[in-house]
Chain length 435, copies 2
């Protein structure tokens, strides 16, 4: 790391967060829940200051000509803040992710092994304009026993600082050390943060795909996030056409900017002539622009798709349409152009559905339902830390379990390896869990 005075200062702050996090990890379930309640109380007490700081940020952002969608994300009001506080209380009420006994085994008489869930340590969280993310991530971090270095967008600086002041004041009235959280305020600190691989265990980026990809490419620390969501819906030969149209419409138009919206529709050639005309009508009526291959165009898709359309994440009311020879061609298309996020088959043929669910290696493989269900809350995970498109676990929508790891505890009575190595003693390997 290039040593500058600012990076040295951040290093010592990160070390302080790490020390505090080690003690936070010793706090009980009740203590961590109570800390979240104290954070909620402090946020309510500081509501005026937070909203005033937010007005200042919004004013500055308007003057600087921040784009309207970003401005909308930046803006806080009483109702939005109250929603954040409710979210914080919901996280407080979630089952404790720590101390779960994942394995309990007698290795030999008197020598017992446990595997228990423990915090990761310190999270580095970097997000673009939304200041409410500070509250959500701070809640998830403390609930899971992790310290966190939080970096918000420059345009939300005053709001983040006001929120952070409230959160630390809340923590000061709890058993959790307020130094478990720290707020980074300058852009240069991101570069330093991404290099702190001995102090930070996981980076959680929140923002655009380009932003997440930038983070992934500039750190050796594991990153929990997804850069691409190229989801497909395949309409099989034996299909309930009205159902497939309804599912496809929901998957495309219910929230087109979401990563779990579909970008490409694949249609079996045997059903294309029946399916496409009414589907094209429905999509067109909903304002969706369709781009298709030759066969799809012959059935009414108005624009031609270019090779760049396959695998494109439009995040908009756009949909690529391709007619495929059979399911295997659909599966190969998804393997080639997909991002292993979520892919759907609509079919009444149970064997075809099982083949698709077995052969498409995406984090989510769905049968006869909308790709938009791929979400931590909808999956019932309680809170969503993020959606991961990496292959290694945690994968797909990730709840609190994405912020914990495990530790092996072995308790003996003077046991040594030598007699086992010599063959004088042997392992019993008796599972003590669920028995």
């Amino acid at each position: 790391m290039t040593v500058t005075s600012s990076s040295t200062e951040l290093l010592s702050r990160a070390q302080r967060v790490r020390r505090s996090a080690l003690e936070l990890a010793q706090c009980s379930d009740a203590q961590r829940s109570a800390a979240l309640q104290a954070m909620a109380t402090a946020l309510r007490r500081h509501e005026g200051a937070i909203l005033a700081a937010n007005q200042l940020d919004c004013h500055g952002a308007t003057q600087e000509g921040l784009a309207a969608p970003l401005l909308a994300r930046l803006k806080l009001n009483g109702a939005k803040l109250a929603g954040c506080i409710r979210g914080l209380q919901e996280v407080a009420a979630l089952p404790d992710p720590l101390g779960c006994l994942q394995l309990h085994r007698e290795l030999a008489p008197g020598l017992n092994l446990e595997r228990v869930s423990v915090p990761l340590g310190v999270l580095g969280v970097i997000f673009e304009s939304r200041p409410d993310a500070v509250i959500q991530i701070a809640a998830l971090a403390i609930r899971s026993g992790n310290g966190a270095l939080l970096k918000g967008g420059r345009e939300a600086l005053n709001t983040c600082q006001a929120i952070f002041t409230a959160l630390q004041e809340g923590l000061a009235k709890s058993s959790v050390d307020p130094n478990s959280l720290d707020l980074l305020t300058s852009r240069g600190e991101i570069t330093t943060l991404l290099q702190l691989d001995e102090l930070v265990d996981l980076i959680v980026p929140r923002g655009s795909n380009a932003f997440v990809r930038y983070i992934q490419e500039h750190t050796r620390i594991p990153v929990l996030g997804h850069a691409d969501g190229v989801c497909h819906l395949y309409v099989d030969q034996q299909v309930n056409i009205p159902m497939a149209i309804a599912v496809a419409m929901d998957a495309k138009i219910q929230y087109p900017a979401a990563c779990n919206a579909i970008e490409t529709l694949l249609v079996h050639q045997q059903v294309a002539a029946q399916f496409l005309p009414p589907a094209i009508q429905a999509f067109t009526a909903a304002g969706v622009t369709l781009r298709g291959d030759e066969q799809a165009m012959a059935l009414g898709v108005p624009e031609a798709a270019t090779p760049e359309d396959w695998g494109q994440e439009y995040l908009d009311l756009m949909l690529a349409v391709r007619v495929v020879e059979d399911m295997e061609e659909a599966i190969n298309h998804i393997r080639r152009h997909g991002s292993r996020h979520t892919d759907v088959i609509c079919t009444e043929d149970g064997a075809a559905a099982e083949r698709f669910l077995g052969a498409v290696d995406s984090a989510g493989v769905f049968h006869n339902c909308s790709s938009r269900f791929a979400d931590g809350f909808r999956y019932g995970l309680g809170a969503e830390v993020g959606i991961s498109t990496q292959t290694m676990p945690p994968r797909g929508p990730v709840g609190l379990e994405g912020l914990v790891t495990y530790r092996y505890r072995l308790r003996g009575h003077g046991h040594t390896v030598a007699p086992f190595a010599r063959g004088d003693q042997s392992f019993s390997h008796q599972n003590l869990l669920n028995s």
Copy 2:
């Protein structure tokens, strides 16, 4: 990636392995087990050719002056090969790591979510001289439904090729496509392999710490491996001295070159005068060189430790000794100098043991037993893929579960998100597992 003819050729081979692996992932438990049995049979049939190839490699290595320990690892004989074949059959008999239902939940009536274990896809395995690693890793890969690109050491080339020919011949007689495995034979291919992040899901390096660290620093693909094993044993105030000496001796001398051997002994000042003299005597008698701080030297440790001794991985009959003021100082020493591999406390004080097991954030935290138990076979994991010192799971000794991930399967009947978003329908989130 820099495109050269050799990298283009490797790219197309890796794509072939990936395609074959996708079909391998569809094979049943019985088919994958049978493939391992067929590999074992083929190895026995090719024993003569394999041992002849190995003699050629050993002859070449001797002429090139390969160091004796590496030469010992390179050498195969009938008994060693028979051991490998037995190991392969043991992996065949392990419980299937695939298809495990980790979560089963009704999201809403008729909309059911499952989370099942699935293969990662393709492994990239790079190992130094030991040719028997080809057999072990190929067995673990096929058992867990993964394709693998295998790269052995240059000095083991003939042996690896003979083994690989046998393995592919075995696979050809099974339901598993022989192209699920491929053997890389030139050093330049490692560079290319490390760049194939769209085709390779996990890199498993087997070799020296420096080798593993090199791999970690030169790829964006996740790496399952550990570069450092700096393990500590802390002797607490209330301790059974003969037991602590026996445990410390086993942890140091039973196999000093292992990553789970201890490198530093920390002794509570209140017990140092009783513990150290007999401990020094035992270690010295066993040929262990001790280096200590001032207080340890005052009690008989012959050499002075320099600051570089703390956190040093000797992998040899060397041990650093430090007298600490109390357990907190020991914990802080471990946090500062340890590698989060495995650390041990010897104490008769239950509360002290719990504090140590809670506060030391290493993959393994042990009470009154040797650090040498930190091992996949000793933990009863069946087979050891490797030991991971990363914080994120999989952590510590990793069995077959380190080679699998999971996939969410959602089955509906035309379910769309819109009515849930409008509030017309609500989620039931009923767990269907263990109920």
